[in-house]
Amino acid sequence: MAGDVLWRLRLPRILLAVFTGASLALAGLLLQDFFRNALVEPGLLGVSAGAGLAAVMVIALGVGGLWVLPFAAFAGALGALALVLAMGRRLGAGNAELLLVGVALNALAAALINLLLSLGDNTTLRSANFWLMGSFAQANWELLLPSAVLLLLTVTRSWQHSTALDVWQLGETEAAHLGLDIQRFRREILVLASVLVALAVAQSGGIGFVGLLAPHMARRLGFVKHRQLLPASLLLGAMLAVFADWLARVLIAPLELPVGVLTALIGAPAFLLLFLRRRT
């Protein structure tokens, strides 16, 4: 009986937290590198907003089934990515332009989500809100396996780019002069980061701050090369998510808090602390 609970509930839940935390942390690292800006977090591109919009639409329509919500969210995320890439190309694909597209997409998706929520009934509102605030409670083996494969693929590809990511820090043109095919690199990093965000959001909803905090913690620990930053961020992201989920379960047990609330509750002060400590 106890073994059954462990196998059916606890273990998948912990694994989902690990996957989600690791995905968000790596996405955060890739995007912070890509924009050479430490303030960038995975939500900035509008990809998670796209996922959120698709998820809320499914909830509002009342479509059920194990695979429907995560798949809709995943499709929403990739749809947002396609939009960002297409708009970026039209605008000249500069980094500032990409961020502007992301900001606009975020605003648009947030407005549409609010519209759906204000039109929906109470049940819709509650379950959509629960999803938007993030949770690992829906973890199950059927969804964990494909996402493990996808995570492994994206992590491997990112690892292959680790020296290129170091080179990229010299500056875009300098990286090109060191032989990096910058157009292809930019596209690949954007796709990798978006798939990672989609992976996290599709199963766990809106989990904030892990993607911002984990790469910062890795840097604060003194890691500078991507051969070290990559694994460190993955590990820290996973640990943060598991810890937040444990708190979410025990703080007001037997009731449960949305884990996204906790990641932000822990993450925001921790983030500020990192900066305050750096000053002294």
């Binding site: 000249g92 500056g171 043109t173 300098e174 090109a176 060191l178 095919d181 840097r219 500078v224």
Partner: protein, 264 residues
């Protein structure tokens, strides 16, 4: 090695280079000219054909050993050519050692520890006096130290190419932030590479540095190639006053007899 014929470049309505035709085989070439004369743009065109300029209109042909530079694969180009830009990303948090190892990346290496590359790495540290800085973080270095790191990085990238006569080293104002002893080291390094067969092209605002370092000087004025020739022919007060709007006296350096220009 590099042949430009009828090369013009404009950004919008602003013409930066007009009808540049010149062939550069080997040796040490200095680019001089007032601010905005087109020195940096010309260097960039020789580096990558201008392919990363946004909204630039480039006409004419730029060829490296007979093939169009802008069509060459970036990785193949990076194995024989390195470029020192005028400005560097300053938020770069890497130890000097790891930063220098990035020079080996286009050559398919992730470090400089092998038997063939280690002596070069040691030489780079010595030439640019970086031995004591090797484990320091780049973003914690002074401006002059950063410049030395970047010089060492581009030197290594170019030197890792096995064929001396195919090496191409381009430097945009390499003297920036360097103190006098390191400017001397820079001069020796530029001359040394040119002597072994590489093509070295650098821009400078220091006419005397150009006279003492280069085999050939290109004078740019308002985007045009105003004059080109040996240091002796370029050290002409009339020519230089026409370009810079400053009067010069031509002297001889007491130690080696090389022309020395004194502005007044």
């Amino acid at each position: 090695m590099i042949a430009l014929s009828g090369v013009s470049c404009h950004f919008g309505a602003h013409r930066v280079l007009q009808d540049i035709t010149v062939t550069l085989e080997s040796g040490c070439i200095a680019l001089v000219g007032p601010n905005g004369a087109g020195k940096s743009t010309l260097l960039r065109l020789c580096t990558d054909g201008g392919r990363y300029f946004s909204r630039a209109g480039i006409t004419g042909d730029i060829c490296l050993d007979g093939s169009a530079l802008k069509n060459m694969a970036p990785d193949a180009l990076a194995r024989r050519r390195s470029f020192l830009p005028q400005q560097h990303a300053d938020a770069l948090r890497l130890p000097v050692h790891d930063l220098l190892c990035l020079a080996a990346w286009p050559h398919g290496r992730s470090d400089l520890a092998s038997a063939t590359t280690k002596p070069l790495y040691e030489q780079a540290l010595q030439t640019w006096e970086l031995t004591s800085l090797a484990s320091r973080l780049y973003d914690e270095l002074s401006g002059g130290e950063r410049q030395r790191v970047q010089l060492a990085r581009t030197w290594l990238q170019m030197r890792l190419h096995p064929l001396a006569h195919e090496r191409l080293w381009l430097l945009d104002e390499p003297q920036n932030s360097l103190d006098l002893p390191h400017q001397q080291r820079l001069r020796q390094s530029l001359c040394q590479e040119a002597r072994t067969g590489a093509l070295v092209i650098f821009s400078t605002h220091d006419i005397n540095f150009a006279l003492r370092t280069a085999d050939r000087i290109l004078v740019l004025k308002s985007g045009r190639l105003h004059a080109a020739g040996s240091p002796d022919t370029i050290a002409d007060p009339v020519l230089l006053q026409d370009v810079f709007g400053v009067a010069f006296d031509r002297m001889q350096h007491p130690a080696d007899g090389i022309p020395w220009l004194l502005p007044h």
